[in-house]
Amino acid sequence: MSQKEVNGSSHRGKVLTLETMNQNVRQVEYAVRGPMVLRAVQIEEELKKGVKKPFTEVIKANVGDAHAMGQKPITFIRQVLALCAYPALLEDDKFPEDAKLRARRILDGCGGQSIGAYSASQGVECIRKDVASYIEKRDGGIPSNHENIYLSTGASDAIVTMLKLLICGEGRTRTGVMISIPQYPLYSAALTELQGVQINYYLDEDKCWGLDVGELRRSLTAAREHCNPRALCIINPGNPTGQVQSRQCIEDVIRFAKEEGLLLMADEVYQDNVYAEGCVFHSFKKVLFEMGPEFSSVVELVSFHSTSKCYMGECGFRGGYMEVVNLDPEVKAQLTKLVSVRLCSPVSGQALMDVVVNPPQPGEPSYATFTQERAAVLADLAEKAKLTEESFNNVPGFHCNPVQGAMYTFPRITIPQKAIDQAKAAGQAPDQMYCMKLLETTGICLVPGSGFGQREGTFHFRMTILPPKEKLKYVLEKIAEFNAQFLQDYS
């Protein structure tokens, strides 16, 4: 009897079933990889089998994976990693001296001089020191202590770890965490799984997804009735919304956090992805310290970074870190204990982070190529951000805020009442129905706005700006065509 026939057979005598499993887990949803992707994969398989469709490929514009869309890896990064993976290559003339220098530094910091050994659970010490130096340089000299750095398996791991640390209490004292709507669904999924209370605060679509302290206050006041709010999460540059918050806004959030005694979780993984003129990335830490000791000695801040985004796009390595600021030493000890359960984050990812924070300097052999490759990636993204915004704003029924940063566009779309009714009758969110139809008609996979949260009565989708320019133009055209047809069909 095949295993396949056996799996999925009746419950007879089974311990772990849909009914007996932890019911909380059944509530968890992660839209970026949810039903849309399952269907997309099915369609790909159908295409492989020769099933005829109105398109020849599935275009996965749902996930922020740059290399999957053809972006090239940065040469220097891969050279250093190859040297770390097989140190005999250190004798090979093919590799530049600056790459070898970094590989040797990393290997010296590893147990047995190998990335195959576990590292300390907080991460290889010399890499944490390099991360701390990077942060200091980025923030104009504000000190960073490597003991406050935790190297993680992507930023996701660090974010979930912090939530795991903080969630406690029962009923009215249960930990509440403020998250922006729209948000990156890792936060909502983790809160569901950990049974934390999700406290929504709305970004203002009419003000380019800006953040308003009045809205924060409204949301917090309402939340205090039923939970114990402890933390405020903010993603800057934003995902899915792509806004880059102004310095004033960041100061306002810090002030609010101090007044309300909230721990700030600043997801800054897109810090290099800033395109719009006049927009600048301001790190939360820098602003915090520039606001003076009244804030910088008190406000608890955890900021997250990753090797999956920016110009590197190395999603597969799962590299990341968090820096914790002003955390009570006893709480920090609990955090350190918690990360030790998973032993350590992948050392290849830690090595990658080291290269990111320690890139070639002027005068070094790889500097020119590195700088050129980096600039090309970022320029390409900036161009595509502009192209997407302009294109979508020419589609009737679409309203697209400027893509100031990150990797996504999140246009508001119009769904006729007839379509809304049909979707509701089928138990589907209207923008989910829209995206499914788009997928079936064009092979383009997006994520419906309902997966990220949005104001009641509005509909959106998230599309990445990552496909190569020609393909992106094709995608934009097809979406416009589909939309016109959709509006007609449901008029």
Binding site: V28, R33, A68, S114, G116, T153, K337, S348
Partner: protein
């Protein structure tokens, strides 16, 4: 309103600080003192607390390193200095990646190609027992994979606490994982006097106890045993499967040391194979997750962080939720996933890298075998120590009889007696070993956990220093070599 301990997850707070971690932190400090020139009787700390072979002198596998390097830097595909089979394997692996780049995310449960290769390995290993690639979940290491299963098995809000039967002794990180999931651990004692064998009567006693205090859902088994080094024979496995079937328990089977069976004449067989051979009455319904890991193969590639579990007899609808949980990791590290392929599908005899590869693996296995025997003999020769034969895995786990005064001193210091022993061993001789209380052995029975998956030079040094310490330690007590065993 700063965050304080009151705001921290109570399950996390309830987990005691790991003695191993504390020893390690102290070991790091000692290493720094040595670097600063502080005089000690030793020149470096030797760490046998847990398995990390490459840290302790076991060389990495050349073929694996070469293939990975090419995968990470595909320009090497055109380097003729690189062996042909290395380049071919790397090319195949790169192609199996999304977007043909190791920099892309993979499907959450792992690269489809690697899932299939794992399934093929399992079927080969088990002489043809069918394996469905869709029931394979690749995660970033054994502990991550187990954590995922515990989420599914833990109780819902408002429900009575779920429980898992755990062996005594258990792997030293297990308590933390179960504790964080809010799962009650109910121990079943392994029989030290029978080479750490499993005992059916003891299982029955444990399940009765469990039913009195929680809702038992699963039984955790390590085979080969961690830290005990025992390997179950077929009859024992059948007994456990029948027990699990009768008591409706999900089998969580840690088989990460399956490649490291070193006892002479010992045959390891997988739980899945035995289950299949027991026929439809069991094969149709007994549920199981069996775990394997990159870290524990004879390559010891711990830093790459990859492992997998195979689910047996789990409904598709439940597997969808397992998938949802791994979605939150997005995907596990790609270099590790690729390395799994090399672990489970080594070079073939006709290929250029075969000889060196095989030689390196066999050398590691030979070292491990010698080390295990050497360690057992050596420890058994020390007064007050007795060590059961370890025939699989990477640890030896001797019992150590400690004088009553040590117990009193430990009590006064607020630590277990074996932890006190380990602390003093580290200070005096720079050797870090694990305390058996971390593996659950408390209440008067003390053990030490020594990892023998190290180079033989490192082991020899560690044993000598341990011996010097042990004899001095016992000598310093008025009882001398006459020990009070509580």
């Amino acid at each position: 309103m700063r965050t304080t301990l009151l705001d921290v997850n109570p399950r996390l707070k309830a987990i005691g600080e790991s003695p191993c971690n504390a020893l390690r932190a102290r070991a790091l400090h000692i290493t720094q003192e040595l670097a600063q020139g502080v005089p000690k009787t030793f020149s470096r700390v030797v760490d046998l607390c847990s398995f990390d072979p490459q840290r302790e002198g076991v060389p990495p596998n050349t073929f694996l390193q070469q293939v990975l390097a090419v995968c990470l830097y595909p320009e090497l595909l055109s380097d003729e200095k690189c062996a042909l089979d290395v380049r071919q394997r790397a090319r195949r692996l790169i192609q199996s990646c999304e977007g043909s780049s190791v920099g892309c995310y993979t499907p959450s449960s792992g690269l489809v190609y690697i899932q299939h290769r794992i399934a093929e390995f399992i079927t080969r290993r088990d002489a043809g027992v069918p394996t469905d690639a869709h029931s394979i979940f690749i995660c970033s290491g054994f502990w991550r994979t187990l954590t995922m299963m515990t989420k599914l098995l833990s109780s819902s809000e408002g429900e009575p606490q779920n429980g898992v039967l755990v062996p005594l002794p258990y792997p030293h990180t297990l308590a933390m994982v179960l504790g964080l999931a809010g799962i009650r651990s109910v121990p079943y004692r392994l029989r030290e006097d029978a080479g750490w064998a499993m005992d059916l009567e003891e299982l029955q006693r444990a399940i009765r106890t469990a039913r009195g205090c929680c809702r038992p859902m699963a039984i955790f088994i390590s085979n080969p045993g961690n830290p005990t080094g025992h390997v179950q024979n077929r009859k024992s496995i059948e007994e456990v499967i029948k027990f699990a079937a009768a008591e409706k328990l999900f089998l969580l089977v840690n088989e990460v040391d399956q490649h490291s069976v070193h006892g002479s004449g010992i045959q390891w067989v997988s739980y899945k194979k035995v289950l299949f051979d027991m026929g439809p009455k069991y094969w149709d319904r007994v549920q199981m997750a069996s775990f394997h890991s990159l870290s524990n193969g004879l390559m010891g590639e711990c830093g790459l962080r990859a492992g997998y579990m195979e689910l047996v007899n789990v409904d598709k609808e439940v597997m969808i939720f397992a998938e949802t949980l791994v979605n939150m990791d997005i995907s596990s590290p790609v270099p590790g996933q690729l390395a799994l392929d090399i672990l489970l599908n080594p070079p073939q005899p006709s290929e250029p890298s075969y000889d060196l590869y095989t030689q390196e693996i066999l050398t590691n296995l030979a070292t491990l075998t010698e080390n295990a025997l050497r360690a057992q003999d050596f420890l058994n020769s020390l007064p007050g120590m007795s060590c059961q034969p370890a025939v699989g895995g990477f640890y030896v786990y001797p019992r150590v009889d400690l004088p009553a005064e040590v117990l009193e001193r430990a009590k006064a210091a607020g630590v277990e007696a074996d932890v006190l022993y380990c602390q003093e061993l580290l200070e005096e001789q720079g050797v870090c070993v694990g305390a058996g209380s971390e593996n659950g052995n408390t209440g008067g029975e003390y053990h030490l956990r020594l990892c023998v998956g190290v180079s033989s030079v490192v082991l020899e040094e560690a044993l000598e220093r341990l011996s010097a310490f042990h004899l001095r330690f016992l000598d310093s007590y008025s009882c001398g070599p006459h020990l009070e065993t509580p």
